[in-house]
């Protein structure tokens, strides 16, 4: 498979997964805020922090500007924010467009239609007041896309690249969801362990659509169990460990080298990271410091991403910022059109 095509498929998949996760963050936070008392209900800044847009947000909106409207606009439709839903969906679509011949027409059309809907939504007045339907659409379409990928695409190398992209992105986002708790400032000390705290943990689970599955397994909400479920669970498809195992499976399917071995830097880094999670205990993680542990994980996951790029790709894909700036570039060069 062409390196450029592999790279674009990988990023198509990552950007769509990212859009889905951002939609989930917003949706859950909004519901959480509705349940909290008025004085507590202004905590939108953690969302900006966890999506990695702190600096940009500060530059655009200024200090103490993390109101619901500002943050939602920033995370949903701001094209200057490379991680906004609009930017991600556009980047997913532009990557899909450049590999249309390698994915199925249905997958391309789904992304194309999603993009057209997001673009229309971005111009609609009043959407920020009632974004639920919009956010649901993003999540549903992402799931539909995964279903199409699973069911109508041959499980060949291209398929493994979509999977690798999806699981690496998801592992990253789940770690950020868990980490968001670190940034959440409860209004007062007495809230810890109180119903509001429970609400927070439940919201965390909901951000990863993990609430119901968690309930079946643990029933009671306890901080350690929640983090254990989201980080180390063997079967839950959004836990970090699960994502790493599946990503590694696809990486080895692409290279053809046997599991448990490595023949390039990407395999080595991902294999080591995966085994750390397979043999970790939640108590160790907590005593190490949850935030530090997750921070370290994100750094190592980025190193995996770099190694994948160095090993397989000769070229960069269209990322969510580049997709715009290429407009002015002269790429004509075919006549008789």
């Amino acid at each position: 498979m062409l390196s450029r095509v592999a790279n674009s498929i990988y990023w198509m998949s990552r950007y769509l997964e990212r859009a889905e996760n951002v939609a989930r963050f917003i949706d859950v936070n909004m519901h959480l805020m509705l349940d909290l008392s008025v004085e507590a209900a202004s905590q939108w800044n953690p969302l900006v922090v966890t999506t990695g847009g702190e600096e940009l947000f500060l530059a655009k909106y200024g200090e103490n500007a993390a109101t619901q409207d500002n943050v939602m606009q920033f995370l949903m439709f701001d094209l200057d924010n490379p991680n906004s839903i609009y930017s991600c969906v556009r980047a997913a679509r532009e990557n899909a467009r450049s590999v249309r011949q390698s994915i199925s027409s249905e997958m391309w059309e789904l992304l194309n239609r999603l993009f057209l809907r997001v673009k229309r939504a971005s111009m609609r007045e009043g959407l920020l007041d009632a974004p639920h339907e919009f956010l649901t659409d993003i999540k549903d379409t992402s799931h539909l896309f995964a279903g199409l990928t699973e069911n109508i695409m041959s499980h060949n190398e291209a398929w493994h690249w979509t999977r690798l992209g999806r699981f690496i992105e998801r592992a990253d986002k789940t770690s950020r969801i868990v980490d968001v708790k670190y940034y959440f400032v409860l209004p007062a000390l007495e809230y810890v362990g109180m119903p509001y705290d429970n609400l927070h943990w439940a919201a965390l689970l909901k951000s990863a659509t993990a609430f119901e599955m968690y309930r079946k397994q643990y029933r009671r909400i306890a901080p350690n169990w929640v983090t254990e479920f989201l980080i180390l669970d063997r079967d839950f498809p959004r836990s970090i460990r699960y994502c790493l195992v599946k990503a590694e499976e696809s990486l080895h399917a692409i290279t053809g080298s046997p599991a448990g071995t490595f023949h390039n830097l990407a395999e080595q880094r991902l294999g080591r990271l995966r085994s750390d999670f397979e043999f970790a205990r939640i108590e160790e993680i907590i005593s190490f410091g949850l935030h530090e542990y997750l921070d370290n994980f994100q750094v190592r996951l980025n190193e995996v991403g770099d190694a994948i790029f160095d090993t397989f790709m000769a070229l960069r894909a269209i990322d969510s910022t580049a997709a715009r700036s290429t407009n002015g570039v002269s790429t004509s060069g075919a006549s008789n059109s």
Binding site: R100, S105, T331, N336
Partner: protein
């Protein structure tokens, strides 16, 4: 909706005869349309447009923002050509492409036609798309122009004329195939009853003709080389690659090593045998053509010259679609084939001839003036639709570079009905059939009918507000026993986001 208020105007109408009756091949369609319930036709038109938008069958206008990404406008009323009309076109195009190919081969070898004075030597020397670097090239099978799109127009007399030849990277064939998919869903009953010749096998034939070019292997690796996702014809590049099941590559995916061409893959490099290139000559290889090209592949032309890789079309074919050379095509046909041309040219004034120049300058207000080496409808003057100032501006341009301009009488292009709101109006159309040249020429039945959607406009190019129609070539003479006058009883077409 019916055609009772439709005005044919003083033009050849593709659908109706002078007496107001439908032409025999269009009768079933007219009956069917008139039997539809009110609003049904508009609904079908909307369903077709939504389907095109969702499929992403859009084109980018150069230099504009993505907000301007547009669907190529499409009118669901097909343009129908009867078998007896198509037959001479098919023969004429085959004849023309054979002669043009011999001409290109001659120009880059012995130049007999120049030495015999049939085509002036200085014409070739001054031709912007003549490529010195191609002299002595020997493309596989002796074929230079594998894929050609020739623009035909019909004048008031109903005769088809060749307007121009496109022998470089003609585009539009993907719209032919997609338009047909939509039309089959839009008018299934008429379609079935009309015996329309299929177009769906174009991609199979294209792949076969590309595979035949492989210089040294039985299972060649064929790729399509595109300038990239921001090219206006990118949809077509991706579509054709997908339909043929071949890789769509960009210049940076390829490299030349040891004289062979390879693509970079996740499992190392893979040798390439045939390249269907949709990049102009100038951008193909910075070592041979434009040094600043980032779209091409350094060393590609050398690999081609040494027979290590095949290119379709061959570089240098543009010499035969120069608009001044065009004027000599009838002579070119006589010279190489000793036959009379089957399809006539449009009368053409060459501004580099003093007498023609004087005539053109005097009659600018009634002529169409075109630059010799442009395509896409850019840089034209349509005399009768131009202002005095534009004419004066053109006069200056022509005088300063007469070689670069030709002029033709303003043709009364034929018209076909299109849906405008709740009625039909006539709009001017042309026709671009596609020709594959392998061991034998193959002509795709029909081709792209382009429509000048602006009222009265004669310019059909998509960059200038043109749209398209499906083109039906009928396989047999129309069957007079079938009728759709009472066709309201036919099962309705189901409407949804995607019509089926």
């Amino acid at each position: 909706m019916d055609f009772s208020c439709y005005e044919r105007g003083d033009f050849y109408d593709e659908m109706f005869q002078a007496d107001g009756k439908p032409r025999p091949g269009s009768r079933l369609l007219v009956e069917r349309i008139e039997a539809l319930l009110n609003g049904d036709l508009n609904r079908r038109q909307q369903a077709a447009e939504i389907a095109l938008l969702n499929m992403g069958i859009t084109f980018n206008v150069y230099g504009s923002d993505e907000a301007d990404e547009k669907i190529f406008p499409f009118d669901i009323i097909p343009r129908i050509l009867e078998a007896r009309e198509w037959e001479p076109i098919e023969r004429g195009l085959a004849q023309r492409i054979l002669a043009l190919n011999l001409f290109i081969d001659d120009v880059y070898h012995d130049q007999k036609i120049l030495r015999d004075g049939v085509v002036p030597d200085e014409l070739i020397q001054s031709c912007a798309s003549f490529r010195q670097q191609c002299i002595g090239l020997n493309p596989p099978l002796g074929v230079w122009c594998h894929i050609t799109g020739t623009d035909l127009v019909r004048d008031r007399d109903g005769v088809f004329y060749v307007l121009e030849d496109n022998l470089r990277c003609p585009s539009g064939v993907s719209y032919v195939i997609e338009n047909r998919q939509i039309l089959k869903r839009t008018f299934p009953h008429v379609f079935r009853a009309s015996n329309v010749r299929p177009v769906d096998d174009y991609c199979i034939r294209l792949l076969e003709s590309l595979q035949q070019l492989a210089p040294h292997t039985d299972s060649p690796t064929v790729v399509l080389l595109t300038p990239g996702a921001f090219n206006s014809a990118y949809f077509e590049h991706a579509f054709l690659a997908q339909q043929m099941g071949i890789e769509l590559v960009e210049g940076s995916d390829l490299f030349v090593h040891d004289g062979n061409v390879f693509m970079r893959t996740t499992h190392g490099s893979q040798r390439i045998d045939v390249i269907y290139r949709r990049i102009d000559d100038d951008f193909l290889d910075p070592q041979v053509f434009r040094a600043d090209s980032v779209l091409g592949v350094p060393g590609l032309v050398n690999a081609y010259r040494n027979g290590r890789v095949a290119l379709a079309n061959a570089p240098g074919t543009g010499v035969a679609d120069d608009k001044v050379v065009y004027a000599y095509v009838p002579e070119i046909i006589r010279y190489y084939l000793s036959e009379d041309p089957i399809l006539p040219n449009v009368q053409t004034y060459l501004c580099w001839r003093e007498a023609d120049l004087q005539h053109v300058l005097k009659h600018l207000h009634e002529l169409v003036v075109k630059p010799a080496s442009e395509s896409g409808g850019y840089g034209m003057l349509v005399g009768p639709h131009s202002t005095k100032a534009e004419q004066e501006d053109f006069a200056e341009r022509i005088k300063s570079n007469p070689r670069n301009y030709i002029a033709q009488p303003t043709l009364a292009l034929s018209r076909a009905p299109v849906i405008v709101g709740d009625r039909f109006e006539g709009r001017h159309v042309d026709l671009r059939p596609f020709i594959l040249h392998g061991p034998q020429p193959y002509i795709l039945p029909g081709g792209l009918t382009r429509v000048a959607l602006r009222k009265g406009s004669l310019v059909v190019n998509s960059s200038q507000g043109g749209g398209s129609k499906d083109t039906w070539v009928l396989d047999a003479e129309p069957d007079e026993s079938v009728s759709f006058v009472d066709a309201a009883v036919l099962p309705p077409v189901v409407h949804g986001e995607m019509p089926c």
